[in-house]
Assembly symmetry: C2
Amino acid sequence: MKLTKHTDYAFRVLIYLAGYEKDKLATIKEVTAVFDISRDHVMKIVQKLAKAGFVDAIRGKFGGMKLGSNAADINLRDVVTLMEVTLAPVNCEEPPCRIAQGCVLQTLLFEAQELFLSHLGQYTLSDLIKPESETLYIIKALGESFAAGE
Amino acid sequence: MKLTKHTDYAFRVLIYLAGYEKDKLATIKEVTAVFDISRDHVMKIVQKLAKAGFVDAIRGKFGGMKLGSNAADINLRDVVTLMEVTLAPVNCEEPPCRIAQGCVLQTLLFEAQELFLSHLGQYTLSDLIKPESETLYIIKALGESFAAGE
DNA sequence: TCAAAAGATGTATTTATAATACCCCTATTA
DNA sequence: TAATAGGGGTATTATAAATACATCTTTTGA
């Protein structure tokens, strides 16, 4: 039932970027410092997000990253689907289940999972950083204290 | 998003018992043979199910196990809740998330999880072994071939 | 033109925990 | 009292997630 830390971290990064002024770049270093996750780890997550187009990563001096599209266009379900390796709630083949054929439980579990995902599918990143929200306020504060040399 | 094998196996055992004639006992040995899971492993799962009252385990010679109540009274949500160690989709405390306070994502994830669980909550074991169902047929066949010396 | 800043990527290691195995115990009944 | 059946603590193994290491390429301005 648990999502991986990768998915968790991906959301933290995306929310942080969404809280930024549009087109302002954040660096890996900044995200690393703000969330206290190792550079290497953040890199892996950002690269995955970049390949999927959720973030734009700009190389070179004065490079950095920003959202790849409007926060309102980044669907939460898509983020989960991207980051999670195994989405299936059960694996009836490995080891093979003797009663898998025609198993109603299988169907119910996949329906349940679809309800989980489709609930997230109703929201986008912009729902997480509404103006006047606590999150937006916190992000701005974190960004400022990083800029001020932590 | 994945459930543990323990939960998976617990369901296999329960479905098997539900497919049995009421009050007929199945042994650990039988379940072990039918599902090709080790005795020790089956024991652990059955013990957990027994402690929760989902199965009655009867010790001693000619002992065995059967459902602890009517299949219609064994709710699928309760089985998942019993078997899964970590139900929370994310852990915002470990490592602590700097933007956890007032985080909307948290709320959405828990809502999504609740939809998952409540879907299962609408069904019981008896929904999985309806008369004339393929599952019931398969279980009877497995039971017979075990009785016939595998 | 090269040094500094920034992201890219493949591989290896560590850690957590799920899964499994081992061992010996207790209960029941012919 | 022996055979059959479940009980339960502890140890080990396997798997995958999490993390670390090393080395790369890209960009830009002095």
